[in-house]
Amino acid sequence: MAKDEYREFRLVGTRPDRPDGLDKVTGRARYGADMTAPGMLWGAVVRSPHAHARIVKIDATKALALDGVKSVVTRADFPEGLTGEDWNLQENTIAGEKALYDGHAVAAVAATTRFLAEEAARLIEVEYEVLPHVIDVDEAMKPDAPVIRHGVSDTTVPEGMSPNIVRKIEFGNGDLGAAFAAADLVMEKSFKTEATHQGYIEPHACLGQMGSDGKGEMWVCTQGQWYIRKMCSAVLGTEASQLRVTPSEIGGGFGGKTTIFMEPLSLALSRKAGGKPVKIVMSRSEVLRATGPTASASMDVKLGMKKDGTLSGIQVEFRMQGGAFPGAPTEFALYCGLAPYKFGAVEAVGYDVIANRPRCAAYRAPGAPMGSFAIESLLDEMCLKLGLDALDVRFKNAVVAGDRAAYGPKFGSIGFVETLEATKNHPNLLAELGPNQGRGIAAGYWFNHNGETSVSMAISEDGTAQVSVGTPDIGGSRASIALMVAETLGIAYEDVRVNVAETGSLGVNEPTHGSRATFASGKAAVLATEAAIKEMCKRAANEWGIEPDAVEWADGAARPAGPNAGQFPPMTIKEIAGAMGSTGGPISGHHESLPDGVGASFGCHVVDVEVDPETGRTEILRYLVVQDAGRAIHPSYVEGQYQGGAAQGIGWALNEEYVYDDKGRLQNSVFLDYRVPLASDLPKIDTVIVEVPNPGHPYGVRGVGETGITPPLPALANAVRAATGVRMTHLPMSPSKVLAALKGR
């Protein structure tokens, strides 16, 4: 798509109020738990207290004897014979033969009140035979580790390895031996990161209704209503089109709301209770025990560097557990961790491993933060060893368009060097540091994603526009899409209303994931708008009696062009829309595709910390995010993504982690002990939006949501190293760990 980098825009790049702002500051916006329905029942879920146990018997007699208890479901109420990912989804929704992790659902109950449902859940008796369990990824890979399930491994796993290793990823190029021989310094280190949770403040909630005919309705907080529809239908054995899913406003997702958890349970309970709607709202503890989280990782890196900072070769092995099912994002950890630099020779090996933990869900640039932590940490350590400037070394090895990524293909238009330039010029790099203070720098990368996209727009009788998109607005995408449509149409921003549609009114859309909403729905909305503009030009041409090709659209009006230029006064969108009932009927535009032209985004973060040498506590003094946005449609929400990603990365680096006891039970399933960053923990987060427009998008957009969580992990580790002289290789860098490292224990 042709696009002029120096185009000036009327609206793109401005910062108007978001369309849903008023609803969201007045409490009117309706989220997952805010919907009720006549005759509604409340659902509650019985969850395994064991990390790994055979389910011997489930007896719901006492629960069903309570007045007001309307239905109980177990795995027996779900169809048999599912395979592959459908089976994984069903098994994770409700355990079959075995409970695979602490918090795994084993039964569910619906009753007339929430208290009654909870009481009934407590009365459902489940007999378990507790089995040996395994939590840690390296433990799970050992030949004698307890086996979660046999037959999960795909054909990439060599014979003779533990059945818990379900996938092996290998790629590479060049002669590693020669590369290391040519290096002036070769170092190797091992790194670990613990599992963290997306930590959205809104717990999962849904209101589901399904009759015995398999027709159903669902109101749910989700990043993707069509995914909910497809997955629920698969798990229940019903037809997708018979289930209509309406997305509520969504209270955060970060990848964690791209899949199903208890949604099929509400439908199954409803179906069994004569079609009464069933609402299920998870507690925070259920959210932490049974949804999300991300994978934990154990990683080895060996890197070769020349005296001048040139990288000569890298060898990495990443092992990641993603819970009791395949899907740890090991390949993304490898791809993204290796993406920023020309490494010379590369040898990369990864393992996807299962363990007795909740099934990992996507979390903002899945895998990338772990990979970057390992590689950027070692890179930093080697810069220190060779006395090189960390930013200079990154410049020297940075990939540019046309360079080949470590995982194979070449990069298209990217803005990594521009991002490093902007970092270098930022005043934060000149701030003086005191005792026990240190500065850390790290880069990060995310591919960005296109995904199935279907958008409709229609011109209203008064010349305003409505746009229906399938990607829930999780952070201001209504505003960015309205800006692009209004820009394209030449009308006011306020004259565009963007609706997030339910599954009945558009073709299939993938969720708001992969940083795709403003890129993909935005691009489709612009193309849909161009289709409507073409029709409006045709209407004007008909009125003027000239060829449609001889009409152009500018500033919200059709204008005769070419030989007809100036022959007629412009016909405004209001005039065309007002007459459309008598000129051929409604005017609308539609676009559906897998949009091409995805543009990747690089970022660079700089953090200054102070570490208390007596307690190991890390305080963040200042924080800088620099990232390529392609073009910022609504810069405030681009900055918001940068700041939010940084904050989540800071939490991951310093305090957040899943803590298990020796029985494999999660020890910190409340926000009191799952420590996400607080307002008082953070400084202002400075941002620089770099704009290297993406040629694949009509306004140059690159996805911006995910890259920002990638650099904080290594940036913080590098800063702590600078402040203390101690290299932390195991996240989180909790005070206990840092103090122990300082004391040389």
Binding site: R122, E614, D673, R675, L678, S736, A740
Partner: protein, 286 residues
Amino acid sequence: MKYHTPSSFQEAAQIAAEATGTTRFLAGGTDVLVQMRAGIVLPDELIDLKKIPGVFEMTRAADGAWRIGAAVPGARLGANEDLVADWPGVVEGMELVGSTQVQGRATLTGNLCNGSPAADGVPALVAAGATVDITGPNGTRTISVQDIPAGPGKTTLTKGEVISAIHLPARGENGGDAYLRFIPRTEMDIAVVGCAVNLTLDGDVITSARVTLGAVAPTVIVVEEAAAAIVGTNLDDAALEKLASAASTAANPISDKRGTREFRIEVAGVLARRAAKIAYARAKGE
């Protein structure tokens, strides 16, 4: 669950004494409601003390001693300038409990009765030598705060007994107290280690001291050796080192999700040193 709103502590004690099922007293509710929500405690009888006259009162007697009603929330302690002037350590301990929102409800009495070894409100109360009034089915008694905690989640209160007020002694001249805790974040966490120091001076010399530690043993502990290390000194570096060492030696913590045993032992000494400096400065009126 039955919800009671007695109009006297005698009535409250009576209801509790006669109850056959699980009973909980409700003041601020910031522990009880959390336990109810999580299904850890499902009371049959919930006895709300807030309708009892005087439970929100906070008074300083002519001799300088304080009486703090059972339902006075943390935010009101901090808002009382006289109390802050007399017992800043007690106030800062309570004010560290939870968020601003929790401060609107949580009480010192509740913090004490919850029985958590990590309760932030308790070490400074013990260091101050505070006492509590207890009403039971057989009358009232007054005991030291130190004698209330009996282990994690446990108190020495017997069936039907309820605390009606907390007493702090008169501050007197040249005294100061301080409480510090260590948490990983800046707010909202449970103490990994807590330490309170209460001392009095004659000129620059410490004449008496009490040092207490939280979260390093099943209950709050009073570290006599730590106090002895600084009494008779002007808190010089040697005294501070001895204090820190005594605090670390006295700590006998567990390793858990909030911190390791080694970390707690080490930091107990660090906090003792830091808290003592603050208390000393306060005693000098600095």
